[in-house]
Structures are given as C-alpha cells and as structure tokens.
Symmetry: C3
Subunit: 139 residues, 3 copies
C-alpha cells in the first residue's frame, strides 16, 4: 500500500528550523500503515531534512557548523551567475540532503526518545514549502 | 511484503565504528525478499549510518574529519543547557544522518566490493544500541 | 510492485558531476509505477548521490566546499595503507552518502523545478559506474 500526502510550511529562510515529527506521524495515522516506511522529501534545492534532538542548543550548534562550512558572506559562483544571493543555501542543502526515510513499527515512527524530524530552510527569504510524505507498507 | 527486524549492538561511543553489513544481510535472508529495499535506521540523535570501505585507514580519516568539523572540546549551546557533554555528538549525527537505504537484488544487498554499511556511535559513553532494519519488497 | 534497473555512466573522477534525473525518470516510466518511491544507490565507496540545482555555479561551489573539507593533497591513513591515492574520495563519499530516495507522484519524480539528481564521482581515475535504481510502488 502506498499513501501520498504533503506537509505545508510557512518558513522564514536563513536556516529556519521546523520540527515536523507530529505532522509526519499524522500522515502515518491517516494512511493506516502499521509496518513500513515513511519517506519524507523536500522538493527544493535550498532546504534539507535530517533528525536531531529538537532543542534550541543543538539547533544553534547545527546552525553555527553550517555557517562555518558554508558562510553566507562569501563569494559563490552561483551568486556570480544568478545574483540571487543564495549560493550558501544551495551548498548547505546539497550537503545535508533532501530525503529522509523513517521506519514505521506498530503504526508509529520508530524514532528515539530525543530524536525529531528536522526540516531546515536555508533560503534567504520567506517561502511556502511543501514536503512530500510517502507512506509505504502494510496495514 | 514488509519484514521488520533489529540489530543490537554494544558500543563504546566516541566515534565507535561497527560494520553491520553481515547482520543486515542476515535480516534480508530471513525476510525471504529477493527484490526490494533494506532500510536501516538508528533511533538515536547521537549516532549515524553511512557506507564506507571498512578498513582502519578510511575509518581514521573519517574520524579526523569529524573531529575537525565538530571538535569535542569546544563550547556547544547544547552542553551549556543540558550539561551532558555530547553537543558534538548531536552535531555529527545530524550532519551524517540516521537513515540508509540499500537495494536488494537477487536476495543480496547491492553493495560494492569495497563498500560496507557503517554504524558510528558519537556519544560519550558506552551504550546498547538498536538499529531498525525494515525490508520491503517481493519474494 | 518492485522494478529493478540500472544506469551506466562513464566518469572521469575528480568530483566529476552527472545529472541523472532524466535516466531515473526513464526508469520510472518503464516501471509503470504511478505512486511510490525511486531509490537510487551507488554501489561504490568513492562516489555519492544528492540533489542540487544542476548549474555550473552551484556545482563549482560544492566542489570547493569538498576540497576544503577533504583536500586531495593531504595525508590520509587510507593512502598510507593502500597507496591508491583516493583517501579523500572515500571520505567525501562517506560524508555525502550513497543513497537517495525520491517520491513518485502521478508517475513523475517529485523534484522541485530547480532540483536535479546529482551523481558525483570522487575517485582519481576514469571509471564505468553503475547506479542501481529500485522503483517500488503501485501502478
């Protein structure tokens, strides 16, 4: 069985972080899948998905690391060509990746106690984002 | 068909590395799936999965790179809030990611000759870890 | 339904980049799957997959970042042991990861307008690479 859904988010960009765990679990509940996979995907080249303990300390630490790996105020070839100022956003998104797959056991996302699903938007302006949530498995 | 299983590991933390390829292949064998996907997931925010040539040189190089990107002896906001000393562990885990999906062809994980499934535990103490292995596909 | 296929590529190594979006979509078309997942995997420990806006600026920016994180002209334990000069290739591949999962909606890969599937070969010589494309879902 495959169940397709989406999660809509209003984001501010600049490494804006969103805990989407509850929304993904809602999609699992709606699907009726008890055993399978939840695949979450951001259809964008300037945002990414991973898991983290969603608390302000760990989020700040992640932002600092990405600021160091891909600082905003640096010369990017992407910016020289396109003048949209989000070269660092593209780089960060490519490094973290757009997809995350989480197992479903007994109808629940098999996350750890201190582990949440993080969506992070690296773009330089507010946007409406849509995540694709594909649930695949057995009722 | 969905087959759910797990792999239990005793880990020492501090970027302790484990080759779990044989255990995942065991799960594939038990499932009877001949064509599909093996999705491996660590239900933790201080450990991660990827693939690597599992030999001591490449593993040392990976540890050095992560020591540089996220040194243990640095100030982390996570540590200032929670005093558990594993801010660098959270950061490394978020950057590498908790999930890995490997295709199954003719009942075998479609890995390269020099490619193994790496579980790496970044926490600062010994733990018992449980990986979720979800096999999905056709017999 | 599971449909297995592959994509063959001639690569030059040294962070050689390939947009494989059209080939993956071809595999989706052949499979007849309208709703599901496309899982792409490189059976290699010196190459990786992610998504990016596939234009020369963003690609150059990604190469520069990886040159900084894992420079070729540095001492690697892998090279000291095996003398094949691709220690940096192994490191980059492990950091980016070998697998990518993209949802399929209405028979189409659910990618963003400016988002393509990137295969990047970090090895130090020309090679023939084979990507595994596993399509799973419903017609």
């Amino acid at each position: 069985m495959v169940n397709s859904g989406s999660i809509e988010l209003e984001t501010r960009g600049h490494a804006d972080t969103h805990d989407v765990t509850a929304q993904v679990q809602d999609r699992v509940d709606v699907s009726g899948v008890r055993s399978g996979l939840a695949s979450i995907f951001t259809s964008s080249s300037t945002s990414a998905l991973t898991t983290i303990e969603f608390e302000s300390g760990a989020l700040d630490d992640l932002r600092r690391a990405l600021d160091e790996i891909a600082p905003q105020d640096r010369e990017y070839k992407h910016n020289l060509r396109w003048h949209d100022g989000n070269g660092h956003s593209h780089l960060r998104a490519a490094l973290l990746g757009p997809s995350l797959t989480v197992p479903i056991l007994d109808g629940q996302l098999a996350l750890g106690t201190w582990q949440q699903i993080l969506f992070i938007d690296f773009d330089v302006r507010a946007r409406t984002r849509s995540l694709v949530v594909q649930i695949i498995g057995e009722a």
